[in-house]
Amino acid sequence: MHRSFEIIGKVMTVAAGIGYALLALGPSLSLFVSVISRKPFLILTLLSSTLVWLVSLIVLSGLWRPFLPLKANVWWPYTLLVLSSVCFQEALRFLFWKLYMRLEDVLDSFADRISRPRLFLTDKLQIALAGGLGHGVAHAVFFCLSLLTPAFAIIALAFVTIHTFSMVIAFEGYAKGNKVDQVIVPVIHLSAGMLTLVNFASEGCVIGVPLLYLVASLTLLHCGKMVWQRLIESRNQSGPTLR
């Protein structure tokens, strides 16, 4: 029934399948349960960002369809593939941010109308986190869940982390106009994509995967540092509104 399993050609037990799926999606599941499921709006943000990622993937696959299937063991077309895909997705991320800014204005004026406080900084960070998690989950589901093997699961975990936290960095970068943040996100995305190309070489994944995790932890650290700075900054502010 699942045609993709024919490609792998091995028998999957249910326990193994669940294990691999949780390997890729475990942290995002715990993030979901602890942070996102408490606020309905965040669930909606997650669903819409997943949809955006899916649409971007469909557009990309539509564009590349005439050129597929690529010849085996030739790696340079894949470079073009990754490059074009990352550029397209980063452009889409910027558009997503624009849409989010408009929604933020609407939410703020709605809050004023019903005399509730405007969006806190933590709210905005949470929305960005939900957006990033949506992208990450979409990546994991499409690239990993159909072909459940340990390799895919491990790589997917790294990518989920990268997507989740680079969205937070990107949103804050665009909002503040911080050039460093704005540039670092596409760079991270591109380098992560390129690193997977290393897997082409035989035994390449021994080098590729740890480097990928290095990139993922760099993203995590940068995001944590940025969020921490932002929170300290807003706490030290004397004004009543948090921005």
């Binding site: 709006f41 669930i43 990754v82 997705q89 609407v106 949470q126 929305i127």
Partner: protein, 391 residues
């Protein structure tokens, strides 16, 4: 001025969009259960028996036919099915017009019993067979009987616990949807598209049966006799928001295809009426400032009970279940498409404020995404991931 005084006040993000989630959750649960059943029970293709029903009366598909034959046969099947549904809906409208409410209620109870006992029993037996679960026939029949009778009471009576009623409605949806996924493939897809078009016609055309039904129900101020899932109404502290609930309640009738082989009419619960707010303020100063109506337009502003017909649950799950028979990737794509379509429909509902068909947008998006995923996405993703190239 003091910042600390603002901290205890909750942000609007805490409760915005609760009603949407209240509808999305049961739809997702229904779809997930149907996908689970399809994965569990369809693992060996050799045992796929043909499911003969009214939907395959005109033509039963065999593997050896040419694509053109299959398409033609699927068209004939859908035509027969939609014609049967139209006739049944007009019959329902006639009965409602003649105020035969008791008959409709009894028929609804009888059909719920048939679905739960017959289809539920069949699926349970398949599951027991699959998992080699040790249970004897006496225990099984007692459990099934209890389960079905409680289900009939749950949809029949209005003073039942709302959680159990919602659970039983979802179970009925799952059971009927699973059996519809056993239709032949081409028939399923053409049938879904035909039903979406029928739904559009039946609700929006002036002679459409569902529109007549809704207008009659509104003019008599009665509830539409149908199996309808109602999301738990949200109770707020703000009195202004609370009064909006009445207003929204009366205009949120997302009606759609509710005629089925087995799904029947039922009286709407009185419970929601008794739970109404006790502060019926008529706020005439409902000025439509732009951001406010936009948020109401996307269904996030006002709090009210959104109602979705059980036919919607069933056909969404049929689409996703049929996608599950191909690959998990298509399942996810179709799920997102259906959710997006449902969101769009709810948005339109808040803007137009009358009964809207819930099937067309979601089914069209779902079908489009299924074929896009199957034709484009799968090749692309498999190409990339089989070489461990990801982005």
């Amino acid at each position: 001025m003091d910042r600390n005084q603002q901290r205890p006040r909750s942000s609007i993000l805490d409760s915005l969009g609760e009603e949407l989630i209240g509808i999305l959750t049961p739809v997702s649960i229904c779809m997930f259960t149907v996908v689970l059943l399809v994965c569990l029970l369809n693992s060996d293709p050799s045992s796929s028996s043909s499911f003969s029903s009214i939907a395959t009366a005109a033509y039963s598909e065999t593997d050896s036919d040419s694509p053109w034959d299959k398409l033609l046969g699927a068209f004939l099947n859908s035509l027969v099915f939609v014609a049967a549904i139209t006739v049944a809906t007009f019959l329902l409208v006639l009965l409602f017009y003649l105020r035969c409410v008791t008959f409709l209620k009894l028929y609804m109870g009888f059909s719920a019993l048939v679905v739960l006992a017959n289809l539920g029993g069949e699926i349970s037996i398949l599951l027991i067979d699959r998992f080699r679960f040790p249970i004897d026939s006496l225990t099984f029949s007692i459990l099934l009987f209890n389960f079905s009778v409680v289900g009939v009471f749950a949809v029949f009576m209005s003073r039942f616990s709302i959680l159990i009623t919602q659970g039983y409605l979802v179970v009925i949806g799952v059971l009927v949807a699973y059996f519809f996924t056993m239709l032949p493939e081409w028939t399923t897809w053409v049938l879904l598209v035909a039903l979406a078009l029928y739904d559009l016609a039946a609700v929006l055309l002036p002679v459409g049966p569902l529109r007549l039904l809704v207008e009659m129900a509104i003019s008599r101020d009665e509830d539409i006799p149908a199996l309808v899932y109602e999301a738990r109404p949200v109770i707020r502290d703000d009195s202004r928001l609370v009064q909006r609930r009445v207003w929204r309640e009366q205009r949120s009738n997302v009606n759609d295809d509710d005629v089925e082989n087995n799904v029947v009419r039922a009286e709407e619960e009185e419970e929601q009426r008794s739970e109404e707010i006790s502060v019926p303020l008529i706020d005439s100063s409902s000025s439509s400032s732009r951001p406010e109506t936009f948020l109401e337009g996307i269904g996030l502003g006002a709090s009210g009970a959104i109602k979705l017909g059980l036919g919607d649950f069933i056909f969404y799950s049929v689409l996703v279940g049929r996608a599950a028979m191909y690959d998990l990737m298509t399942v996810y794509a179709c799920y997102l498409a259906i959710i997006a379509g449902l969101g769009v429909t709810l948005m339109l509902l808040s803007v137009y404020q009358k009964a809207l068909p819930a099937l067309p947008v979601s089914i069209m998006l779902g079908v489009v995404f299924y074929f896009l995923a199957r034709l484009f996405l799968e090749v692309f993703v498999v190409q990339c991931s089989s070489n461990l190239v990801m982005f």
